[in-house]
Subunit: 394 residues, 2 copies
């Protein structure tokens, strides 16, 4: 008399998690320095000094009843004010604190937003390659998952790929840029074309089609790239953000939903996000973390280490004869399986103590994801293993 | 094209919250010292010194990648070990770390547990007076709310009140003791009788009927009372706990679900709780808070202030001629409306700057809830207002 799907969902481990656990076991057997674990997207760069200092300040505050107390469900007003101000300074966003709803990270932010829109028959479009939890999230709130296959020419956003998948039931399309797992950063022209398409389709279907901008990697961009602020391009954009990656705080569970004034039915949508959050068990985002981001939302991450890792790994692998997709953002890189399926290649790689998850769960068969949020030293030491793997098996 | 129920759920404020907001406005008008706000259950006692010191220690740790990093969805193993050990030491619980699933506080703990059990037609029994969010939680996960009316003779657990409401569709009964809002602490004999009833009904219906023990007030008991550890009385008990009240950390969102080995289908149930949490947007409980409770789960709250408040308010009000239910636990006290409905009395009380929410939302008409997690000084200063309110309106 238990819910079978929930038992399954809880019992089933993701492939990435399996590989990570295998890595722990393997490290115990052969020594941590001999295992090259590219599986997990846990920031390897510590939280910036200013953020660490702010955690210490918060812990030292005398008004502990406030520091550890409930805030309103939306978040503390002073925190919302600071973040709105920061969005306005950086992106000319015209955000008011009342547009921001703080959440326990990006996952509940995304789910609250989609649940708010999930009328019967609602379809949510995701673009492969995608974060593997998207389908789980969409199904959990009762929506239909619509997948646009990966465009493996450049893994970029091509409007002609998307158009056939927009129907009268489309409620939103999730845009994740910089992208996990490809590291591709969608540029302004592609997003403008998408905006045009969605305006046209919204007019045809008679209801707004939203962009849900899932952008925890917004600040992790290289080579002078920038991730455009999508509400400035398309009015019906809801932003789901988290400081997990930018401030290296994934465990602290702090993020927000931003529903801009210009979005269709903005007030109702904001209320529906709040109601959905409540229906998902939300009380408030962790208070200490809220006050930390109040002070630190202006702090930019130090991306030097990720940048170097990316370059070293790309250069090393391509010189060995591998094919990789050069990433301009996030801290991942796609690797094309040089033989067999991605799963077969991943299994073979394990024999060389290389842990690389295949991208089938990301909707991108034939590719694997390398996390570059690892130590630079591990990357250097892994290259001979990559060399042997290719030479002995090709 | 938004979900109407979610818009409503997000737009609608609770009566308690309305009263609290009114109080803020009123304080600005007449001065904070002239408003007697008994509305909110936010701990007024600071987190214990040891807990505050542990937050400072965590903030000072050098391995910040770990302190702020993801833990596994279940919680960090060292944290689960410490809490299991503590449960065993205090209650001879025979808990293993693998029985504990850490959550962002009690709300998602309860919802994950109920969602795991929420097969089609599932009924969940709650006893009035009850925490007003229970019906919202149960409806949100798709269950049917079954309410046992309050027994106003003593607000205690009487098995003959419960029995008629147990059906073949009953999946669980929520037991909240010490109780919010009554402060009643159910004793061993009543719980044993409930266990007997549920064993009998489980045998009749052919499936286990669980107790969900929602016990954030477990440690807030007075007069030498103790809240029995319910898994020791009934095998099919799942405990939902939070440190919000006991360690005064409501904003930090830290709690757990405990699925004992002896509960029916224990492994499947644990997995279903994990799966349900995932389907509600759970990634992990806040990491710093996890590490704080690893060290501080043995810290007992200093309940002296709440105890004194309780006695002073009870004595003061009953001497004035009010009828109150003497609480042995939590930090609330029921007040019987001496004239009119509870809502009418609450409205009249506002004219005397007394903010007291009526208990209709708690399923207990005719009564109001006084929070005693307030300053002792405010209680003393409020008594003349209570006196005038009664004398001028009776």
């Amino acid at each position: 008399m238990l819910v079978h799907e929930m038992v399954q969902l809880g019992a089933k481990r993701s492939g990435i998690r399996e590989l990570f656990e295998y890595g722990l076991k393997r490290k115990a057997e052969v020594g941590a320095e001999n295992v090259f674990d590219f599986s997990i997207g846990n920031p390897s760069v510590p939280a910036p000094d200013a953020v660490q200092a702010e955690f210490r300040s918060q812990a030292a505050r005398e008004d502990t009843v406030k520091v550890h107390g409930y805030t309103s469900a939306t978040g503390a007003m002073s925190v919302r004010e600071a973040v709105a101000k920061n969005l306005n300074a950086r992106f000319d966003a015209k955000a008011r604190p009342e547009n921001l709803f703080f959440t326990c990270g990006a996952a509940p932010a995304l789910m609250s937003t989609m649940k708010a829109m999930c009328v019967p028959g609602a379809e949510f479009i995701i673009l492969a390659p995608y974060f593997p939890e998207y389908p789980t999230f969409i199904r959990a709130i009762g929506g239909k998952v619509v997948i646009v296959p990966a465009n493996t020419t450049d893994f970029d956003l091509h409007i002609e790929d998307v158009e056939p998948y927009v129907t009268e039931h489309t409620q939103a399309i999730i845009i994740n840029s910089p992208n996990n797992p490809s590291g591709v950063v969608y540029q302004k022209a592609a997003l403008e074309a998408l905006a045009e398409l969605l305006r046209k389709k919204s007019a045809e279907t008679g209801h707004p089609i939203y962009i849900i901008a899932d952008e925890p990697y917004r600040e992790l961009v290289y080579d002078g790239y920038e991730a455009p602020f999508i509400p400035n391009i398309y009015e019906n954009t809801v932003v789901c953000y988290s400081w997990s990656k930018s401030l290296s705080l994934p465990g602290e569970r702090i993020g927000y939903v931003y529903v801009p004034d210009q979005a269709a039915d903005s007030t109702d949508l904001f209320n529906a996000v709040a109601g959905s959050a409540r229906a998902l068990g939300h009380i408030c985002a962790p208070t200490t973390a809220q006050y930390v981001v109040e002070r630190c939302c202006c702090v930019m991450p130090d991306i030097k280490a990720y940048d170097e890792n990316r370059k070293t790994l790309y250069k090393g692998l391509t010189e060995l004869g591998y094919t990789c997709v050069y990433p301009h953002g996030a801290f991942y890189m796609l690797l094309k399986a040089p033989f067999g399926t991605a799963l077969e290649f991943s299994e073979k790689a394990k024999e060389y103590n290389l842990l690389i998850p295949p991208c089938e769960p990301f909707g991108c068969p034939g590719y694997l994801r390398l996390s570059t949020c690892v130590s630079h030293d591990m990357i250097l030491k892994s290259l001979p293993a990559f060399k042997a793997l290719l030479e002995e098996n090709r």
